[in-house]
């Protein structure tokens, strides 16, 4: 095991110079110094084990056993292969990434307002966009998180979105991250950056899918900066292959009175680890983190969140629900940090889980660290089974056992789904749920 750990780190340290020298035109010094600094952090940081408090229930050994390597060249796939991942045919803005690279011919950019930038991070780096120097690497800490350090060292492509002050992007921006590991076990490193200027508004859907049920690793980092009064409606749908690994870090910085609304749906992956780290840099901010994880088999889903109430008068609402079947395992760790000066903070957190089998397990831990005295904070966690009385009631109305179960599970999940306001992504999520629950019914 120790040997493998060494090799994973060794491979990426060894091949780093090679990676840098292969970048042509995407290597302005500002970016390269970030990459190099992150590489130093990566080599100095230790890969986490279950002895680390933050990784207590999530053993990454299965990841280290494999040799996942980044893909060096752009590729493409036929258009009809991505059809099933699209929400509908009316989507105006679609960014397609294949194994971490932007695929222009599959993407759509209809009706994008002047001044709004939506596209490939690699292209922005190549064009020496000032956004890069100003924002890249600023909102997702790579000094403590080894996988974020890896992403930062090897950052190359991903989605970049910039909405200038006062602009409103009406159409939802659908970002499709496809992994195609049919040929080899790849490491997919999408690196995303969303910057919303003062009073601007956008809706972004990060959608992770794969061409087949193959084994690969996605290590993705999304950095978000919301300037004063900006509103970002964020949805993440993770439908990775059930044999894949998914490690994600979303880092958010919120300026005065900005509003971050996020809904996360975690359906896929053998093992997934999702870190949300948000910070209020000024007063009046709102942050909503909702989500649903639905897993079965021997899979594991880990959600870690930190909401940093660094300033007074900010509100956060977090509600994650989990549905666990078979021998699956869920981990929820919700940290709410209310710093000394953050008076008048409202922070609410809730984690509810339903266990469908005797062997499924959830470790849920609220972690409230409150240093201010005039605050309203609450948290709650539940782990339960399907309500027997409700199940019986449905059956006495002629509804069969499996269908009755499906109805109740669906109902349990429904409030999280209902609170999604991006309609086309909501129906996509609904359809996933219907397919999952009705699979053995008709």
């Amino acid at each position: 095991m120790i040997e493998n750990t060494f090799e994973f780190k060794h491979w990426f340290t060894e091949n780093f110079e090679q990676f840098i020298s292969n970048l042509n035109g995407e290597s302005w010094e500002s970016v390269n110094s970030l990459r190099r600094e992150a590489m130093v952090n990566f080599s100095n940081l230790r890969l986490p084990t279950v002895k680390d408090e933050e990784w207590k229930y999530t053993n990454i050994t299965p990841i280290l056993k494999e040799t996942f390597k980044p893909v060096h060249a752009k590729s493409t796939i036929p258009k009809d292969e991505i059809e099933k991942f699209l929400f509908d045919d009316k989507e105006n803005i679609l960014l397609v990434f294949l194994n971490g690279y932007y695929v222009e011919e599959l993407s759509r950019l209809k009706g994008v307002l002047k001044g709004v930038q939506i596209g490939s991070l690699a292209a922005a780096i190549k064009g020496n966009s000032p956004l890069i120097a100003k924002h890249l690497g600023k909102y997702a800490d790579y000094k403590e998180h080894i996988f974020t350090a890896l992403s930062s060292a090897y950052s190359r492509d991903g989605a970049i979105i910039f909405v200038p002050a006062g602009k409103i992007v009406e159409s939802p921006i659908h970002i499709l991250h496809i992994s195609d590991a049919r040929e080899e076990k790849i490491l997919n490193l999408p690196r995303n950056l969303y910057v919303l200027g003062e009073n601007s508004q956008a809706s972004i859907i990060e959608h992770f899918v794969s061409t087949e049920e193959s084994t690969y690793l996605t290590n993705t980092v999304t950095e978000i900066f919301l300037d004063r009064n900006a509103v970002l409606n964020h949805v993440k749908i993770q439908e990775e292959s059930k044999k894949a690994f998914h490690i994600a870090h979303v880092g958010v910085d919120q300026e005065r009175s900005s509003n971050f609304v996020s809904h996360t749906f975690l359906f896929g992956a053998e093992l997934s680890r999702n870190d949300y780290i948000t910070r209020f840099n000024d007063e009046g901010g709102e942050c909503t983190l909702n989500g649903l994880y639905l897993i079965d088999g021997k899979r594991l889903c880990d959600v870690h969140s930190t909401i940093d109430h660094a300033m007074p008068h900010c509100n956060s609402h977090e509600h994650f629900k989990g549905i666990l079947d078979d021998e699956s395992r869920g981990v929820f760790n919700g940290k709410v940090l209310v710093r000394k000066d953050a008076q008048k903070t409202n922070a609410f957190q809730e984690n509810n889980n339903i266990i469908l089998s005797k062997s499924a397990l959830v470790n849920t831990k609220p972690q409230l660290e409150i240093f201010a005295d005039d605050v309203k904070c609450s948290h709650g966690a539940t782990i339960g089974q399907l309500d027997y009385d409700a199940l019986f009631y449905l059956k006495t109305r002629g509804i069969g056992h499996e269908k009755a179960k499906a109805i109740l599970i669906h109902a349990f999940a429904s409030d999280v789904v209902r609170s999604v306001t991006i309609e086309n992504s909501k129906s996509h999520i609904e359809n996933i749920l219907i397919q999952k629950f009705d699979k053995n019914l008709n």
Binding site: Y388, Y393, L394, K395, T396, R397, G398, I399
Partner: protein
Amino acid sequence: MEKMLEIKNLYVSVEGNEILKGINLSVNTGEVHAIMGPNGSGKSTLAQVLAGREDYEITAGEIFYKGKNLLEMAPEDRAREGIFLAFQYPVEIPGVTNTNLLKTAVNEIRKYNGLESMDALEFLSFLKERMKLVELDQSLLSRAVNEGFSGGEKKKNEIFQMAVLEPKLAVLDETDSGLDIDALRIVANGVNKLRSKDNATIVVTHYQRLLNYIIPDFVHVLYNGKIVTSGGKELALELEEKGYDWVKEHAAELAAG
């Protein structure tokens, strides 16, 4: 007139406590039976057993429904074969609308009987027609099942579901309790409209009052897990007059006949 339900020497335990202690009851098509008795006598237990509640243990006895061994049937199959229980305490189901519940139920039952599903429009007009029967407020259709319903609304909703599912054997467990007189009349009217010579009703109640509206053919008094006496509709009046203490005091004599 055919035999619909036959309960023979039924013993039931709940969590190790014997609740029903040798129930015998026979119900024919076209009949209305009232089961009365003091609190805790086992009325709801009997009703739940008929509906197929799995955590109630049948320690002895048999139940036949339309000639079939009822105890071998899953709750959903009992419902599909025409048994309906109006719950004393209807269950709240957040996230599932009344319409959705009924649509699924109707189509599951139709499928069981080899019929096509009803389409949405057809179903909606059917619902609306049935709603009139119990004067149910239309807004309750799109609300989550029983969630936040008043006591009366819950009871009405049970009868509404019954009207939609058109059972052969309806078991109404204290559907009258907590209803004001107007609501009681509406509920009773609904039940009466659904009566026919082909189906049967078991009305579980504490009070004689409901039986002024739903006239029973037989009245049974359940006490301490046993039917201690049975009679015609006049037994309900007698019971009302003498009170349940009379039953308790004379249980032994009554049982002896």
